[in-house]
Symmetry: C2
């Protein structure tokens, strides 16, 4: 339960999501009225911490169900809520605060914050019905919204993203986006589109962004990424060759790195060929997965 600095961020939630409560308005009301219930405090979409934990407050006596989202039950069976806001535009750009949380509280609390952030953001973006334009209201303890006019139901989004390392001849491909500082590289990534498998999305993204044909795509690890509500699906893929044709609107630069390059970057060694994402990001774990599987060359000191 201690802050784990090599922990994948936003994964490892421990709450019982208590689906059976959500769907029963009487049980939701009981949970909100429970003296044990707590409300996760957010500052807009940012986390608030105290003494190395997320700040939780008792539920206010005049709390209304329709303003609260039931995140679940904690290890002590305490109902944990978050407060919904209809400030639809406010504070929706990820702040540094929402990313540094991974170094401040235990991993399961990082995951709890991530789930709350995605859901509160979704409610903030959905006060109106996309079908008819009328007002919507939360239901199912915040796990849905319903239109008061056309009765359409709307559910929180989870947007699957593929993130992948194309491998060729003992090296993997890393890219730098235009908005990243010089020297910072990561795995290529992109949203899965309607009508694609995971593997088809990986092949399309690598072709679009780097001009490479890949095969033998293998799933490695996944991660929820609450900016605003992605599911990162990390894969390895074998490239037929290493000749790049970059989509320069997406990728500023790309480099092929061998296992020593990657190990040096993972260890933040001085002189490492690139700066890699921090352990909270799934790309770090994908790189580590690959580097750990490579046989160190004879005589290597790494």
């Amino acid at each position: 339960m201690s802050t784990s600095t090599d922990q994948l961020g936003f994964a490892g939630g421990r709450l019982d999501r208590a689906d059976h409560i959500r769907v029963n308005p009487d049980l939701v009301a009981q949970a909100l009225a429970s003296p044990e219930a707590r409300c996760l405090v957010l500052d807009g979409l940012d986390p608030v911490t105290q003494d190395g934990h997320l700040l939780m407050e008792p539920i206010l006596p005049d709390a209304r169900i329709e303003d609260h989202l039931l995140l679940g039950l904690d290890d002590s069976q305490r109902p944990i809520f978050a407060r919904l806001t209809e400030e639809s535009g406010a504070n929706f750009v990820p702040s540094p605060r929402s990313r540094t949380i991974a170094n401040e509280v235990p991993a399961d609390e990082v995951a709890l914050y991530g789930a709350a952030r995605s859901l509160v953001h979704w409610h903030g973006r959905h006060p109106f019905c996309s079908v008819c334009g009328s007002a919507t209201k939360p239901e199912k303890a915040g796990w849905a919204r319903r239109c008061g006019s056309c009765d359409a139901e709307h559910f929180p989004r989870v947007d699957p993203v593929v993130i992948m390392l194309a491998e060729h001849d003992g090296r993997v491909l890393l890219g730098r986006q235009h908005s990243w500082p010089e020297g910072f590289y990561s795995a290529l990534a992109g949203f899965i589109e309607p009508g694609e498998t995971i593997e088809e999305a990986v092949a399309r993204e690598v072709k679009e962004e780097a001009g490479l044909v890949v095969r033998s795509i293998r799933y490695v690890i996944s991660q929820p990424w609450p900016f605003p509500s992605s599911l990162m699906i990390a894969c390895m893929a074998q490239a037929d060759d290493d000749k790049l044709t970059l989509d320069e609107t997406e990728i500023a630069e790309a480099i092929w790195c061998d296992a020593d390059d990657v190990r040096a970057a993972l260890a933040s060694q001085p002189g490492a060929r690139f700066n890699c994402p921090p352990p909270m990001a799934v790309a770090y774990h994908l790189l580590k997965h690959w580097a750990d599987a490579q046989v160190a060359p004879a005589g290597a000191s790494a």
Copy 2:
């Protein structure tokens, strides 16, 4: 390219999704004006076939870009469009027609239909802005909508779903939903929620629906499922025991089946213990993956 009866449905699309065209209005206009361009004909959300292929028609001379979605370029570089409708409620329940298509046209056309169905459905459900309630209009050749009032951008949904076989002592768990006929069973499944990894969602769903604790979760295969826009993520999981506590609101009955039971069902043998989903469904392939990996007992004739 022939109709493949054991093909996973809606996977295997061959269109170049041509992202570089979508983002460039001039290129979209050129594509729509091309004499080679074709429009996939839909009947509401249902497919229309002719001579064993999806029906495609030339683009009408007065076609407007804002009514068309660019699905991509076919093998002959012909731009393939679908027409958008704003009949938001019409014909949105999956018809039998939208499922039997897998037996009527080549696999890559099934995939093309699936992508088109998901996207046309999404547009039909999003004429209004969920942020402010004003009207939205398609942009990026139908791969986004933008609000005319608050300028919010909205993107097509893909809803990731986990579908899984819990395994214990050489048997796998199958469930029957209340709406399914007697004797029909499949893998358990459920939507991935914000704040979960794939593996966490698998564990939660199996616990919720069957009361089982699972571990060693392994990804097997994925599939786009256009009803309306799911990404099915199929996994195996090891259950600690076989004692079931069913969520009877979700699951009417559940059975543990051994490899012979599964092989008989996959082969639609008379007297098979259950009726399994057809090959177009990912559950069929997950069951086959598992059964193929089991060692046939000595003397078995299967």
